[in-house]
Amino acid sequence: MSVRSTRVAALLILLVLVLGCGQSPSSLDLLSGPGLEPVSGPSRGPMELTVLHTNDNWGETDPCG
């Protein structure tokens, strides 16, 4: 391959790379594509909570309580 041919080939490769990069989807597009959810922290939906509460616990150790 001649020097000229080599230069043309290199130029074509560079052109393909530049144009190809320009046409590739951004990282945001990838995350928001169909079937994919944005990466985020765990979702915070409603939480079931049990609250046990006492008073006068001395009655547990003193039978007169």
């Binding site: 049990t50 046990l52 006068d56």
Partner: protein, 243 residues
């Protein structure tokens, strides 16, 4: 407690206070050490300090505060010497993805002879503290030995409280109540009658919404009858103190 912990992914165990001794006196042989040890074993998350705890006196109360593996809370009682709060005013508990602030409030005893302590007005304290705590958490809980109706009135006077856990009702309510204006949920643990102390556990199941508000509440007062088997570790612990 163990059974309930196995059934509930997110559980808080709280005490409204007046827990450590029977009378406002120093008659108790262990000065509440056995009760604190038992509450440590049960992994309490927090407790409000009541007048009976103050009745221990400064020295014994400081010992119990050191021994407790859980925060003992009071926002409205100060040590008379340095004017700092007795215990922490509030604590923040992380439960699941939520932060729950628990404020402790002590029933004020007028002319109670507590030379070691200074009482502050509960409403004034809450008016200042509730907004401060609310900024840090999703849900604000008031844990107090202030009587049930008075505690509900405080939650009506001071907006921002989501749940009141109070004590000393004249008659044990059949269900959780709501304050009419602020909508705070109000529950209580026990009937203040002889032979009732430490014999019931309040059990509140509630949904914490994404904004920290509480709804779908179901509450019952569970009697601790003989049908509930003694826990071996607790029995061994109490035997040690009985010797």
């Amino acid at each position: 407690m163990q059974q309930q912990r196995e059934q509930s992914e997110h559980l808080l165990l709280l005490d409204t206070g007046d827990a450590l001794i029977e009378q406002e006196s120093s008659e108790s042989p262990t000065m509440g050490e056995d009760v604190v040890a038992g509450m440590n074993l049960m992994a309490y998350d927090a407790m409000a300090i009541g007048p009976l705890e103050l009745g221990l006196g400064a020295e014994a109360l400081r010992q119990r505060l050191d021994e407790a593996a859980f925060p003992m809370l009071s926002a409205n009682v100060l040590w008379s010497d340095d004017r700092t709060t007795v215990g922490e005013p509030f604590t923040v508990l992380d439960v699941g993805f939520y932060r729950i602030g628990v404020i402790g409030l002590t029933r004020v005893i007028e002319n109670g002879g507590f030379a070691d302590f200074v009482f502050l007005d509960p409403e004034d304290v809450l008016a200042e503290l509730v907004p401060e705590v609310a900024e840090q958490v999703d849900t604000v809980v008031l844990l107090t030995n202030v009587p049930y109706r008075s505690a509900a009135e405080l939650a009506e006077a001071v907006p921002g409280i989501d749940l009141v856990i109070a004590a000393l009702p004249r008659q044990l309510p059949e269900r959780a109540a709501r304050t009419s204006g602020t909508g705070a949920l109000v529950v209580t643990a026990e009937q203040a009658l002889p032979l009732h102390s430490g014999r019931r556990v309040g059990n509140l199941a509630v949904a914490v919404q994404s904004d920290g508000t509480l709804d779908e509440e179901e509450w019952e007062s569970v009697a601790l009858g003989p049908e509930i088997a003694d826990d071996l570790a607790m029995s061994n612990l109490l035997e040690k103190y009985a010797e």
